[in-house]
């Protein structure tokens, strides 16, 4: 399996490796493999050619806004850390297939991954990563770093590059090195960022983040920024909507906040500005 083949084949450690292989039954991380079509058929093209790109139940769940950013506490009363905020819509074409998808998936106590792209792809591979991380911690007697977890994730995705996986994930967490966000996608990209947004509504979210983000914020400011950015993204992007789920990861741990209806957020926002957003019926 892809995850298992990245052991260093260094001459010096080979004996040790062989010994381990022979006498220590190291847990196998994942024996999963996709049954692939024979004769070099590419699944993606095959589905496209034979069922058409228009077919509704083959349009995988897409359309999302996810964001995450790091911040430092502005006052000693604040904790700082990472804010992760996402919408909750799953759509297939114009059809909203779910209004309440949890797009922040746990990887560990202080680590989460967000999902954007194919929902099934994200959920499945996040589970594989989580399993790897757990086994890693059991084996190494120390929690895995965000960098290592995200690298494993990126390697897995790179192995399937070009076969039609659709994943855009942010692995966010607090480890011994501090807070970190790694953006990972199905093209094999992996990059460490302080402010990050992924999904069809990401550009809209970036607009808000870039305007209002400060490296030092109070916890409340940071949460407001997360909600606000998601709300604005869902407003412009028809692929995003529902409620805004928000997670705050601080040095102490992970806090999940209940979902807030983005439509409600928008009405509150408009009221705050005193702007009349209700359509005024015009005469014809």
């Amino acid at each position: 399996m892809w995850g298992c083949t990245f052991a260093e084949k260094n001459e010096d450690v080979r004996d040790h490796e062989e010994f381990k292989a022979d006498y220590l039954h190291e847990p196998v991380v994942s024996q999963f493999s996709f049954p692939l079509p024979p004769l070099g058929i590419q699944p993606k093209e095959f589905v496209g050619a034979h069922f058409g790109k228009e077919l509704k139940n083959l349009q995988f769940r897409k359309g999302t806004t996810t964001l995450a950013f790091l911040y430092e506490p502005a006052t000693p009363a604040d904790q700082g850390g990472i804010i992760i905020a996402v919408d909750s819509r799953a759509s297939a074409g114009e059809y909203i297939s779910s209004k309440s998808v949890m797009k922040i998936l746990d990887i560990g106590d202080r680590m989460v991954a967000t999902m954007a792209g194919g929902a099934a792809d994200c959920q499945f591979w996040t589970r594989v990563v989580a399993k790897y991380c757990t086994l890693y911690e059991l084996r190494e007697k120390a929690p895995i770093t965000v960098a290592a977890a995200s690298k494993y994730f990126a390697n897995v995705l790179y192995g399937y590059k070009g076969q039609g996986l659709s994943v855009g994930s942010m692995v966010c967490g607090y480890d011994k090195r501090g807070p970190a966000i790694f953006k990972v996608d199905s093209e094999g990209d992996r990059s460490s960022l302080n402010v990050c947004s992924v999904g069809s509504g990401s550009l809209n979210a970036y607009g808000i983040l870039d305007q209002h983000y400060k490296p030092k914020m109070t916890d409340e400011e940071a949460k407001q920024l997360g909600w606000r950015a998601i709300m604005h993204a869902t407003y412009r992007d028809s692929g995003s909507g529902g409620v805004c789920n928000l997670v705050h990861i601080s040095p102490e741990g992970k806090t999940r906040y209940p979902g807030r209806d983005v439509s409600q957020l928008y009405y509150e926002f408009a009221a705050e500005l005193g702007r009349d957003i209700a359509y005024d019926p015009r005469d014809d």
Partner: protein, 205 residues
């Protein structure tokens, strides 16, 4: 992607007792992006006759202009008010004239007979096939969701208030599941005395 869902938008009409309701969403998009939230798809043609045009926005606009032109010509020639049936036939013929190169818009007509106040609603496909049931019609991206929900929300002989609630709740339900429509909705309740236009609270995502 179908050209019919490029801009998005949904129109619904329901018939009651001497009243009809016609509801429209307000979104104007370009595929996934919402460009404007003040684009109603329902247009007044005469006092008691309204037309809804869902589909490709630029064609909807062209067709609306053609409809208004023909309606003007009709009133000048015939010197009488346009009945909703007559308007529907007019639009049907207009659309069918473009049978082999159609406008990508599905017209919907709702109104009351100017004299008898008999409600009339109908929907068409892009080449002008009229379907005029007695209960409700819907066109646009949310059509499939609307037809389902209206089956239960519609009742015989509703008065104007009940009809408004049923129409508003139907379109709100459809907007819950249709990503290409929404961002506010307007309901026109046409009775023999007046037309009530109400902007209802809808989701903004």
């Amino acid at each position: 992607m179908s050209i019919m869902s490029y801009n998005g938008g949904t129109v619904l009409a329901m018939a009651g007792n001497e009243c009809v309701c016609i509801a429209t969403d307000l979104r104007f998009g370009e595929q996934m992006t919402t460009v404007a939230v003040d684009q109603k798809k329902v247009h007044k043609i005469s006092d008691k006759v309204y037309v809804g045009l869902a589909g490709f926005a630029s064609d909807a606009k062209t067709v609306l202009e053609k409809i208004n032109f023909r309606k003007g010509l009709y009133e000048l020639r015939e010197n009488r008010k346009l009945k909703p049936e007559v308007l529907a036939t007019m639009i049907s013929n207009l659309c069918y004239q473009h049978r082999f190169g159609s406008f990508f818009t599905e017209p919907l007509v709702a109104g009351l007979d100017p004299i008898t106040s008999k409600p009339y609603i109908c929907a068409m496909d892009t080449i002008g096939c009229i379907a005029a049931p007695r209960d409700f019609v819907a066109v646009g991206t949310g059509q499939e969701y609307l037809l389902g929900v209206c089956e239960t929300f519609w009742r015989e002989n509703m008065n104007a208030d009940d009809l408004f609630e049923a129409t508003a709740q139907s379109i709100l339900s459809a907007l819950e599941r249709d990503a290409a429509s929404g961002w506010g909705a307007v309901v026109y309740t046409i009775t023999k005395d007046n037309v009530n236009v109400r902007t209802i609270k809808a989701r903004m995502d």
